[in-house]
Homo-oligomer: 410 residues x 2
């Protein structure tokens, strides 16, 4: 932790300031404070403290705090590589711009659920935004047993608004195309294409699973019907630009407490099928029920609330804000919602499987200490994933979906 | 017609040359010749003639010819407005760049079916390309009763190659996204969205039809099931970036003779559903059979050849050039082809209807002099259009399709 006085920069400091360099460099705690000072976010004589609090996977995250008022900001900087596989996996810094631009757009559409962006710099891949340290990462909190009674309602509203107002129904169809151009995001999409839709379904060296699961995993690779459906879901992800997606909307991208919910980290944002974001929420809520049978009712309520709020809100926007002249066509709304739902089930199935046997796991499952229980839960997760992918067209409602989940759990 | 000697430009000419101006100006025949001279396409002492040969709708088209060798080139320049509705409908000049870029890409993929581009200038919205005056516009030729025995085979090959090699199956998936960015084409897409998918299905002032057709047209506007399907087709057009489409592949965009076929005018190019291009070909062949019952066998053969060649070629490319790791999934190829086919039937239906009652008609129908026959043909065209849109999922093969067409005709 670095502590510095927020006094007016001296000539000497000016020279060493961040933006005297024209080339990207990773920030240090000291440089992060200098940046905060230059931005005059804090009062002139504030004494600031700074810590790097990121999980260090793809980004540096500095929290700069006024040591007296305790008010703070977050300075997030993209790293030019993914640490998860060492420095050998270079990653475009452009994702910081995608993330900042997406935060601004989503923030305009659903300000109650998105942190305010104060400043961005494309060269340094920096986004300065609200400090959310009074909230917890939803995944971590849920694993700790915290309750977020409004989480699902908030996420339903967030997605109804963002998926509607960035689609051809909610925005001028020409403007939507310019947004689509702005959010062409090949490098981050490739991570999803590989790690969610491809590698878990073939014998790829990126996969990672307990040796005891090998036969279950091999049965995935040999399941022609499953691979067929995954191929179609991948095609949908590759081609269907329905709305500006968050693109990585798992519970680790959500900050929450009992009353507040903020969606962060949209660096995977791109124009894709709306059901992908919905499916990520489905799946990442499901991990909690899979890992803890006693949570089934809590998660069931979350799933129902999330979906029902989403449909209600989307329906209201459809009826009041629609820009599509043919939107009045009888049955059109239902067809759009049904597609979201079926897509979401399929994408949720892919997420369940890839978080169990692919490269990037979730703590909900991996933190289960008892090896027998963990293996049992993971087998159930795989089974539920396969079922959702293959049977998505036979699951017609959120009630059907809950029934399928409960049947898998018992 | 302007005749000029292709001698080396004098100092005086240099001053007045086209590109001494930095701003767009419409070419004259004289300026077109100056440009040809500057490009040194012709030998130094050639005597050149020049005529403006465009239909004057959206573009100026100059043919510059060596009066001795008869060799020529085409200089096409976009106009900043659409003449079809007067100068009041401004149109982006960027479409010249879209067209030139698309010609280059399609020319690389299917050189036998695309004119060579020699020169482009974005500011002046100019494309210089091969002169195709030894060929006829296929629509005009077909109306005159000319036979193009290879037209359908060539179009099948052209579309198999262009739809495959610009899709996620035929090109690196990151490169495809950059192409998609390059071909975001809001203004030209809006013309299609309005004139094909919207206006004909509502009581829009852009519609144009014989008063005798009013009750048939009103039955379209009141047909809830039809509008529902059109809304879904429009959504597909708006969201599904399967491949780089020509975007306006009617028989007026095709030059042909007995042995050769060239596809021109891809200024509507964008990433959309492959079935749209296929459907435009279906529909524009169908106009010929609708207008002339005695041509049903000729057109039936064209439809069968076009589709079967398309499937054969696409299948070969799928099996030999596929870049999608999951493409081996049993049933995936069939699902992709089936989607192309059903989409194409629906899009063909929209084209049949809009060319009958919308803003832009086709000479195949409008040139029928006998008013009773013309009305009968137009009613059949509307009926076939409605049937294809509503029943596309029940038409499973090209044979089924032909049967439906024949039933409508008799």
């Amino acid at each position: 932790m670095q502590i510095l006085k927020a006094s007016k920069p001296t000539g000497g400091m000016e020279k060493m300031t961040l933006f005297s360099s024209k080339e990207y460099q990773p920030l240090t705690e000291s440089l992060a404070v200098t940046l905060a000072v230059k931005m005059r976010i804090f009062s002139e004589n504030a004494v600031l403290s700074c810590s790097e609090i990121g999980d260090g996977n793809l980004n540096l995250v500095f929290r700069v705090t006024d040591t007296v008022t305790r008010q703070g900001i977050i300075i997030k900087q993209a790293l030019p590589y993914a640490k998860v596989v060492g420095e050998s996996w270079p990653l475009t810094l452009k994702r910081a711009k995608i993330e900042a631009d997406a935060l601004k757009i989503f923030g305009k559409i659903a300000p109650e659920y998105v942190p305010v962006v104060h400043f961005t710099d494309d060269v340094f891949a920096i986004t300065v935004m609200d400090d959310l340290s009074h909230l917890s990462i939803a995944r971590t909190g849920l694993i700790r047993g915290e309750k977020y009674p409004l989480l699902s309602k908030h996420l339903g509203e967030y997605l109804a608004k963002t998926l509607f107002f960035t689609s051809d129904f909610g925005v001028n169809q020409s403007e939507k195309k310019e947004l689509q151009r702005q959010f062409i995001n090949p490098e981050l999409c490739k991570i999803t294409e590989d790690l969610i839709f491809t590698d878990p379904f073939i014998d790829s060296p990126t996969n990672s699973f307990e040796p005891e699961l090998r036969s279950a995993v091999e049965s995935i690779w040999k399941d022609a019907e499953l691979i067929f459906h995954v191929a179609l879901l991948k095609k949908s992800f590759l081609t269907e630009g329905e709305a500006l997606l968050h693109g990585d909307l798992h519970t680790g991208s959500v900050f929450a407490n009992a009353t507040e919910t903020k969606v962060i980290d949209p660096e995977f944002a791109f124009y894709g099928p709306g059901g992908f974001d919905i499916g990520q929420v489905f799946a990442n809520l499901l991990f909690q029920a899979l890992a803890n049978e006693e949570k089934i009712h809590e998660i069931q309520e979350h799933l129902e609330t999330f979906w029902n709020v989403f449909v209600d809100q989307y329906s209201e926007l459809w009826n009041t804000e629609n820009q599509e002249p043919l939107s009045y066509a009888p049955g059109f709304f239902d067809a759009v919602i049904q597609k979201f739902f079926q897509d979401a089930l399929g994408f949720a199935g892919c997420e369940l499987i890839r978080r169990t046997i692919g490269l990037a796991h979730v703590a909900d499952l991996d933190s289960i200490q008892d090896i027998d229980k963990r293996l049992l839960v993971k087998r159930k997760t795989i089974d539920l994933g396969k079922l959702l992918i293959k049977s998505k067209k036979e699951i017609h409602s959120i009630d059907d979906f809950i029934k399928v989940v409960v049947q898998t759990l018992v």
